[in-house]
Amino acid sequence: MFVVLIGGFLGSGKTTMLLELAKAANEAGLRVAVIVNEVGEVGIDGTRINAEGYEAVELAEGCICCSLAGTLQNTLITISSDFKPDLIILEPTGLALPHRVQQIIRTSMIRPEKVMTIGVVDAHRFEDLLNKRRNFMERQLMNADLIALNKCDLIGEAVIHRAVDELSQICPGREVFPVSALTGEGMGTIIERLI
């Protein structure tokens, strides 16, 4: 069993990417389970993901990297034993720190063969967010295995190059993939890493 963790700031396109990855994994014959976490007291994305035909558990009213850490561990164990997925895709809130979630997965006793963390960055708002909360963005991208510079369909080549250069400095040694989860552009390379 693999676990894919999709981290990134509010509105970076994590759920759209999740649906693209789930679709590709499903088409490859993998049994996919999804865990989504909402910070805003009511669940939204679980309904959408269920409507797309995937098994989704939605954890609302808290953040899985801090207040709901125990709930996440229990959910991982329950899904692993009851549903027996080949792949669990986990989407924390846009205010979570994914390296903390990695630690929770490691100590959850589900023993995945591999945990892959994708750091999703909104290319359209990248420079503004960097100016506003650089330190938090850097912490969100800590320990990501790869960076998906998302929403590249909304910006020009020059802005994409600047963002890729900046992200390469923030996350040295990590590959940065310009993609659009909405149009599917560039997603093939990320899907290849997963399946």
Partner: protein, 131 residues
């Protein structure tokens, strides 16, 4: 930087969620709902020097669902899916930087209260598990 405490507190963000029902849902109500989301973003931007967050909603009726997302106000509200005209249930959540949850709640109530036939039923939905 320590790794203790809440990441939400660390980044200086807040969130709020509401749920309820809307009567007589149709294209006009859809536009009103979009305008309410843009209004909430505008209120947040006024308070916090720009809107850095996410407003998302899901509307459900007769096993159909429609999701709405607002991240960058200049790009408008994106819509996914369709629901039939009539009554529908809704859930909406807002999370943003540099505001407190009480301000978010007031902004949401103010903007949503302008939609005729919309009734807020509950602030919390809790843990939702698949059937």
């Amino acid at each position: 930087m320590t790794d203790d405490g809440s990441s939400i507190d660390e980044v200086g963000a807040a969130s709020c969620g509401l749920s309820g029902m809307i009567n007589h849902w149709d294209n006009d109500k859809e536009n009103e709902f979009k305008q309410a989301m843009l209004g909430i973003a505008s209120d947040i931007a006024e308070m916090s020097d720009g809107f850095f967050g996410h407003i998302k909603a899901i509307l459900t009726s007769d096993d159909k669902s429609m999701s709405m997302n607002l991240v960058e106000p200049s790009l408008g509200v994106s819509v996914h899916g369709e629901i039939p005209d009539g009554s529908c249930a809704f859930r909406i959540m807002v999370a943003a930087l540099d505001v407190d949850s009480e301000y978010l709640r007031k902004a949401m109530n103010k903007r949503l209260s302008g939609i005729e036939g919309l009734k807020v039923e509950s602030r919390r939905s809790g843990l939702i598990l698949p059937s």
